[in-house]
Every structure is written in structure tokens, then in C-alpha cells.
Symmetry: C2
Subunit: 251 residues, 2 copies
DNA sequence: GACGTACTTAGTACAATATACAACGTACGG
DNA sequence: CCGTACGTTGTATATTGTACTAAGTACGTC
């Protein structure tokens, strides 16, 4: 070991989320960037080219610095993605619904979240059930919990109900993003797929063995004009989810 | 170009799923493996060490062949994962529930799926809303659709309802797997986390600004003894999901 | 004012990934 | 019996996150 380096106390993820820099002695060259600059650059890339395009090299390039420079601002890529998500949560619009019925309020929460995920498709895949307690997440949680005021639910039930609703929206958005990405990358249209795979499927799929699957599958495909219609899945699921919560709230 | 190579017609994913090899002229050395052997080896690794441990090298090693050999049996890694999923669907147990009420039948479908995902945690993360029409998926779809017989739903509604239920189960299982993996990899227990992050959070989290979040968050944390209890989330969500479908079925 | 030291930046390096390419050997059809 | 189609494998490439090491910068202290 060269010398007893003071072993930099490297900031925790929580400190980073709240931008609580440990007030470093500010020695050495001035920082050319900020955490927000790195996070914003990463979000811009993810929005434009998807999460898989977000590499440390790519971010550094878009900021005009060397890749390793980023590690001065962020401990690693995993933490960066958490920061990106919290920034989204902080910035997303929150529909004001005071005075409306609980069902309308919850529907607005769901639609706000869905819109946010659709605007940033990478976020649906990256987000988790229990995100770290960053400022964006806290503000979001507070706002969304208020939509369950005067429902008669206990505090624990409110948390359960909100988590349930948000998990549905996240999944619906992730599925929508995946379907869209697939449609873009796959050169094949639904019609072309059937022309190329239909004959084989007809030979191999035993309609006598799977009568229900054959009938329902065809009906669903024709009804939506595609194998999977994300918007319909969201609309259908949202009504079911609100009905399910209604059974708890209006019991 | 050396010679007009016959341009091997390389099998489509659908042919592979149904094991419909195009009956090649069988020249050259005999194949030492089968598609199933590759798929089974990959599943074994995924079960034991997680999806990120499933690399072409690792599979090849466990089969005693060179990595590139696998490409004789499988076009690429993406296709292999689809094959792994369909194998799971084909092999999973399906509870027999003829004669029971629709709600019990659907609950059994949900629990079968949840058990399958918990036994193979990687599958929840890998599976998609609209999987390719492999034999496993077809058998699964047929069985699960039957649980919606005599509900009075239209064919399209049956497909919607099933997809809605399955999406819930998949998400719940994926969240459970993620929580479990996090608990294993993170050296820190919940208590340790609070001891190390509590002071900062107390300083930075404005309980006057987020009163509901503070109250509900604490209540939920105490009720479950942890930040997130996957089993409770599944039980709660399943009841809500069935209630939501009941509103459609028993209207 | 000058200097040492803490701190930012950058260059290089490494291990791991999927998979393209081409050489090698095998065994069947003629 | 031999040519050729095909299974197998070694090598190679592009890309990834990030550890390590040097180099340069500017503030706190004398």
C-alpha cells in the first residue's frame, strides 16, 4: 500500500437519491458534471434508444467525458438506474382529483402511471415493487396513498391496495412496451407470420385435442386484429382491478 | 464463395418448439445430443444458479461439448429460452377441478402457475404475455381456458380474463423471486439497513410533508415484519383479482 | 506566496458475453 | 470406394461493466 489513503466514505445509494453529498472538503479540480447531468443524459438515451443502449460508454460519450469519469458521480450502473427511476417518479404529472369518488381517483392514479411508463418504456422493465425511498418515490407514494382516503381501509390495507394497483399498471405497461418493441424489430407482420407459419401450425396443432384453445384463440385474435392488443388489456384489466378493490372497499 | 452450398433451411422457432425437424438427409457424423438434452441442461442450470448463470459456455460445459456445438441444435440463446419456458409449461402439474365452482377452479389455476414460477424463479422473469404457440403453451392454454367454462363469458372475454389472471400471477411470482434474490445477495438484514440508513432518512424525509406516507409506510412495515412480504402480496392480490373477475362473471 | 495533498479525470486492462467464421473429421449416397 | 454434406470445435471479434494506475488540478495550510 502506498499510503494510508483516507478511504473515501463513498456515498450510499440513499445519500445519492436525496443528493446529500457528505460535504466533501472540495479539494482538487472542480467537478465538470453533476449527478443530475449524468442521470438526465442516461434518461435521454434510454428514452431515445431503449434501456439496452444505456451503457456507461454511451453516457460518457454523450457528456463528452471518459467512461470512468462517471464513476465519480455514481457508484455503478445499478445505482444509476435507480436514480433514473426516482427522477422519473419525481417529475411525472400527478392528476389532481380531490373531491372525486375513490374509483375515479384510483383510475387517475393508474392512468398517470401508465402514461409515465408509456412515455419511458424502459422504466416499466426496470422498476421494481419496492423501490428505494428516494424523494421522487416518497412524493409519489404520498400522492397515491391520498387517493385511498375516506375508503374506510386500514393503513395496511391501503398499502396493499396501492401496491396491487401499481403492480398491475407496471405489468400492463411492460407488456405493451415489449409488444411494441417486438413489432418494431420483427420484420414480419402478423399476416406474413401466418403465411409462413400457418401451414406448419395447422399440421401440428391438434384442434381435436385442444378445441377450446382453438376456438377462443381464434376469437380473440380476430377481435383484436392482432395476437395481443396492449391498450385493450390495460382497459380491461383496470376495470377488473378497480372492481376487485371495490369488493374490499364497499363491503 | 467456395461452392453453391445448399443453404441449410435452418429450422424456424415453431418447428423447433414442436420438434419438427425437416428430416435432414442424415449425412455426416451422428448427432451426439438432442434439443431436449440442451433444453434440460439449461433448465437445470437456471434452476440451480439463476437465469444469469445460463450462458452458452456454461451449458456446453455441463454437456461436455464445445460452446459452438449448441448452435447446431438451437439457433441462438433467445430461442433456447423460449424452448425452456415451453418445456416448463408442458411439464407443470395441472390441478383437476372439474365439478368445482368457477372461483375455486380459477384459484387452482393461479396457484398452479404460482407454484411453477416459485419452483423455477427464472421463468417468471423470462416469460412473456404472449408466448409462442409451443406444445406446452397450447396444453396449458386449453386446460386453463376450461376453468372458465360455464361462466357465461364470451370467448373473447375468456381470453381477456385468463390473460389478466396469469399476468397477475406472473408479476407476483417475479416480485417474490426478486425479493428473495435480494435477500440472499444483500449482506444486510432489515435491521442493519435501518441502523445504517435510519438517521439519514430521518433527517431527509419530511414527515410533515408526507404524513400519509410516513404513517402507512410504518404500519405496513410493522404488519409484515419486512419491507415487502411476497406471499401476503400474492394472497391479497389473488382475492382481489378473483373479486374483480366475479364482477364480470356474476353481473 | 508556495507547497503538499486530496480529489477529479483519463488511459489501459481484464474478464465475460454471444456468436461469426473456417478448419477438421465423419459417415452416408452414389 | 470416394466425394460431399454435415456435425464439431478452435479461434476471433465486438461489446459489456469496472478495477487499477497514472496524471493533472486547486484548495488548506504554512
Amino acid at each position: 500500500m502506498t499510503s494510508a489513503t483516507a478511504d473515501a466514505p463513498k456515498p450510499s445509494l440513499l445519500e445519492l437519491l436525496w443528493r446529500e453529498a457528505p460535504a466533501s472538503p472540495r479539494r482538487g479540480p472542480r467537478k465538470g458534471l453533476t449527478v443530475d447531468a449524468v442521470v438526465d443524459a442516461a434518461i435521454a438515451i434510454a428514452d431515445a434508444e431503449g434501456l439496452e443502449a444505456v451503457t456507461m460508454r454511451r453516457i460518457a460519450q454523450s457528456l463528452g467525458v471518459a467512461p470512468m469519469t462517471l464513476y465519480t458521480y455514481v457508484p455503478g450502473k445499478a445505482e444509476l438506474i435507480v436514480l433514473m427511476l426516482d427522477a422519473l417518479y419525481a417529475a411525472m404529472p400527478r392528476t389532481e382529483t380531490t373531491g372525486r369518488l375513490w374509483r375515479e381517483r384510483l383510475a387517475a392514479v393508474a392512468r398517470d402511471n401508465y402514461a409515465m411508463y408509456r412515455a419511458h418504456p424502459w422504466a416499466a422493465a426496470a422498476s421494481q415493487t419496492r423501490p428505494p425511498l428516494g424523494p421522487g418515490q416518497c412524493a409519489k407514494y404520498e400522492h397515491e396513498l391520498r387517493s385511498l382516503d375516506d375508503t374506510g381501509l386500514s393503513d395496511v390495507e391501503r398499502d396493499d391496495a396501492l401496491a396491487y394497483l401499481l403492480a398491475f399498471v407496471r405489468t400492463a405497461a411492460a407488456d405493451a412496451a415489449r409488444a411494441e418493441a417486438e413489432r418494431e424489430t420483427t420484420a414480419m407482420s402478423d399476416r406474413e407470420w401466418w403465411e409462413s407459419n400457418g401451414p406448419l401450425l395447422a399440421k401440428v396443432f391438434d384442434a381435436e385435442r385442444y378445441p377450446t384453445a382453438a376456438r377462443v384463440g381464434q376469437a380473440a385474435g380476430e377481435a383484436h386484429g392482432a395476437a395481443f392488443e396492449p391498450r385493450h388489456a390495460f382497459d380491461f384489466g383496470l376495470e377488473r382491478t378497480l372492481d376487485g378493490l371495490a369488493a374490499l372497499i364497499e363491503r
